[in-house]
């Protein structure tokens, strides 16, 4: 196992360089010089030329990239073009926020989808409800669900605050009430997709001999479902979680925007829109890192769940 992990980690650096170079080239070639964005509507040709010189935007792409990667390898991700803040100072506070949102949503989705779908054996109503919710979850657009939740629970009923983010330190209750709707919005899609994957694998596992043996031993259907089918049917879900978390760290952009949550997704999209390249590149690194780590963890979890998998 150690060798496996080591080999995976060795790929990180070459992947990082390739990915960031491609990202860098893409934004500089397609989006062009950020000078006009940094100057706003007062951008005169003279001002643009000055900014190009000071920041080096008129240098060839590879040269600009080398400047960036040289600094990045020492941990210096530069300063935002828009706010002049250190990029690390902008990103670090957003990380725990997105992680928390993601963790809640995925955990909730995992528990409810596995629970409901395993419980559905012999309980027709639960099965129908669960199917219904999963279809809604997958097809309903994120922003619509979020807006509907806000309208119902904030505007009409007044139970929950409309948007925003309160840190734990400012009040646990406040923090939780602000968390409920964003987590539900995000959770819906994952409930749907986990359910579909799980149910498909469930049906396959259900055909296995050992399941019939368990039934013939007289075990209740529910016990068979949870004790014998679930641990085997959950494997593709684990893989899917690994992929999902990796991507989610790039931020649940739509949810974060609708609910005004200062997470990584909003930071990323905002940076792309305002040509804030240092932030875009740093975020690229973060997404790459998290995808690599999550895939690695998923593989390790799979291996521990299924001794037949050799790493």
């Amino acid at each position: 196992m150690a060798g496996f992990i080591l080999r995976r980690l060795m790929w990180f650096l070459p992947n990082a360089v390739i990915l960031t170079f491609v990202l860098f080239a893409a934004v500089t070639v397609w989006l062009g010089s950020p000078a006009a964005m940094m100057l706003g509507r007062d951008a005169s040709p003279a001002a643009i030329a000055e900014i190009n010189t000071v920041y080096g935007f008129d240098l060839p792409t590879w040269q600009q990239y080398l400047r960036w990667i040289g600094a990045a390898l020492t941990g210096d991700f530069g300063r935002s073009y828009a706010s002049h803040q250190a990029v690390s100072a902008m990103i670090l506070p957003a990380i725990p926020i997105t992680l928390e949102l993601t963790a809640w949503a995925i955990l909730l989705a995992l528990v409810t989808s596995l629970g409901l779908n395993s419980l559905a054996v012999g309980r027709h109503v639960i099965g129908v409800l669960s199917s219904g919710f999963s279809i809604v979850g997958i097809t309903f657009p994120n922003f619509m669900l979020g807006a509907i939740l806000i309208y119902v629970f904030s505007v009409k009923l007044g139970w929950l605050p409309t948007a925003g983010w309160i840190p734990w330190q400012s009040g646990v209750i406040d923090h939780l009430t602000h968390l409920i709707m964003p987590v539900l919005t995000l959770f819906a899609y994952y409930f749907g997709s986990f359910s579909m994957i799980y149910r498909a694998e469930y049906r396959a596992v259900d055909q296995q001999l050992y399941v019939r043996v368990a039934h013939s031993k007289g075990l209740s259907p529910t016990r068979v479902s949870f004790r014998h089918i679930l641990p085997n049917a959950v494997l593709p879900v684990v893989t899917f979680i690994g992929i999902s978390i990796g991507r989610l760290v790039g931020g649940a952009v739509v949810t974060e925007t609708v609910f005004s949550i200062p997470g990584l997704g909003r930071l990323f999209v905002g940076a792309i829109a305002s040509y804030d390249f240092p932030v875009v590149l740093a975020m690229g690194m973060i997404v790459l890192t998290s995808v690599m780590i999550c895939n690695l963890l998923a593989d390790i979890v799979l291996a521990s769940l299924n001794p037949q998998i050799r790493l």
Partner: protein, 511 residues
């Protein structure tokens, strides 16, 4: 030889205490102290360092953290703020300012002429690369400290427009000690002389300001705390206002009036001068280099109908780039009333055959799209087929500048000095001149308006420019849009200035 123009001397309106800012407040009554004001804004706040600030949303916050040297009144006239008086010398090439006494920055350091000089040098420093530099460098020759409470600016050429800049971004005075201490991190650690200090800022979500107990205008400010909450869009903002989560939101379209109109505890206010909505086209090449075609289109557009449908009739029809209510406003001498028959006749004279196709570009913004569709209908009525091409909003302006987009609706906010907007749009070398407009007479007038000191004379010059522009039609003005603010009826003292930024500094709330 130095000449002191007496008529340009503005006496300070009292020394300590009231800062001669007598903005008309939104409601009468005696201000009560205390309370928290929560404002909804769209999330555009990137930096609180005026040196680099370009986002509109930041301006309202900057006016709370900092003071400016001068300030504007509701007709863009200039009034004292940190500079309590000033004189014009040397035929407009030298301004001498007297500063308010006993003003301290929020870090305790004194505000004085040396601090002012530091601020100007910061804006002009090439290494710092402030967006304001290229505008100031050709105008300012040097800044002199004359005494602790007075300084002078020497100009390369007379430039009355500079004074208006001192009421805006250039005029925000930053503490030199803080600038040196924080360097590039000043954007998140602002230190000014303003009525409020930064307490906490979660970027993209919430920003909290608290009262500055050592503020130099005695008795002010009234509020204890001001909180800015970011709204992802105005629909959510309006809902937040209705449930009481925020007290003030502006930038609302007229249809928000329907939602807020009869809600108890909520009032609405219309902006004094709205954004100038206008069609632009390239007049230096076909088809729009044909003056009769331009006039035909001008007569074919029913602007009242556009106003009714897109602005609920609340906008003011524009017959030029200058609205009424400003010190340089002038009568509308050249107008193009809605007249379909005349339009058809002009079109024929222009030699354009009915059924000719003309492309028009549009952004996805609902107001823009609706306007363009209505105009396309109206032009179809005179025989022109408009082909609407969608374009992304993010690079719309830069595509206009690079001339990739011809014929589109655009909008501009008024600047505090007439030269501000008119030069960049209508001078043949103006950097926002997307139309290719080149009229030597207008160029001459703009150049002279730029250096003339006398306000009455400047007013005449800009009136002439407006008339000529309306004769040449590089733009077709449509209206000055109606924008609304919705607010909690307990709120008083907020002034929505014609530069489209509300001023919250002297606001107060009824208990």
């Amino acid at each position: 030889m130095n000449t002191l123009h007496r008529r340009d001397v503005l006496a300070g309106m009292g020394s300590i205490g009231l800062a001669g800012v007598s903005w008309p407040a939104m409601a009468q009554g005696t201000p009560t102290s205390g309370g928290t004001l929560t404002i909804g804004i769209n999330d555009d706040t990137k930096t609180l360092d005026p040196t680099f600030s370009i986002q509109q949303a930041e301006r309202q916050i900057l006016h709370l953290l900092y003071n400016t040297l001068l300030t504007i009144d509701v007709d863009f006239s200039l009034k004292p703020e940190l500079a309590k008086s000033w004189t014009v010398e040397n035929d407009g090439k030298r301004y001498v300012f007297q500063l308010q006494d006993n003003v301290k920055f929020q870090d305790g350091t004194p505000f004085d002429a040396a601090a002012v000089k530091f601020n100007f040098e910061r804006r002009l420093d090439e290494k710092i690369a402030s967006p304001q530099r290229t505008q100031l460098a050709p105008i300012i020759d040097s800044v002199e400290v004359l005494s602790p409470l007075s300084f002078a600016i020497n100009l390369k050429n007379p430039s009355p427009g500079l004074l208006a800049e001192l009421a805006d971004r250039v005029g925000f005075m930053i503490s030199p000690t803080a600038a040196e201490k924080y360097g590039k991190d000043l954007g998140t650690n602002p230190v000014g002389t303003g009525a409020f200090k930064l307490k906490q800022w979660t970027q993209g979500t919430e920003l909290t300001l608290e009262r500055n107990p050592n503020y130099w205008e005695s008795g002010k400010p009234y509020l204890d705390t001001i909180v800015f909450k970011a709204n992802p869009n105005t629909a959510i903002g309006v809902q937040r206002l209705m449930v009481g989560e925020i007290d003030y939101i502006y930038g609302l379209q007229p249809d928000a009036l329907r939602q807020l109109g009869d809600k108890p505890g909520i009032k609405t206010e219309k902006s004094k001068i709205g954004r100038w909505y206008t069609y632009e086209w390239q007049v230096d090449k076909p088809p729009f280099d044909n003056p009769k075609l331009r006039q035909a289109i001008a007569h074919a557009i029913d602007r009242d109908r556009l106003n009714q449908i897109t602005m609920e009739g609340q906008a003011t029809i524009a017959n030029g780039p200058i609205p009424s209510g400003l010190w340089w406003s002038s009568p509308d001498n050249v107008v193009y009333p809605y007249d379909v028959e005349k339009a058809k006749k002009l079109l024929a004279e222009a030699g354009i055959a009915p059924g000719t196709e003309i492309p028009m570009w549009t952004t996805p913004t609902p107001v823009d799209r609706r306007l363009n569709q209505l105009v396309a209908e109206q032009l179809a009525a005179i025989g022109l087929k408009i082909n609407i091409i969608p374009a992304a909003i993010s690079d719309f302006y830069s595509r206009q500048v690079s001339r990739a987009i011809n014929f589109s609706i655009t909008n501009w906010t008024q600047r505090a000095d007439p030269d501000g907007l008119l030069f960049i749009l209508f001078h043949s070398k103006g950097f926002a001149n997307v139309t290719g407009y080149n009229n030597p007479k207008v160029d001459e007038l703009l150049a002279s308006g730029r250096v003339t000191q006398d306000r009455e004379r400047r007013k005449q010059i800009y009136a002439e420019i407006k008339d000529q522009i309306m004769r040449d039609l590089p733009y077709i003005p449509i209206f000055f849009a109606a924008e609304f603010a919705g607010y909690n009826s307990k709120l008083n003292g907020v002034v929505w200035m014609p530069d489209n930024h509300p001023r919250f500094r002297y606001a107060w709330k009824v208990k």
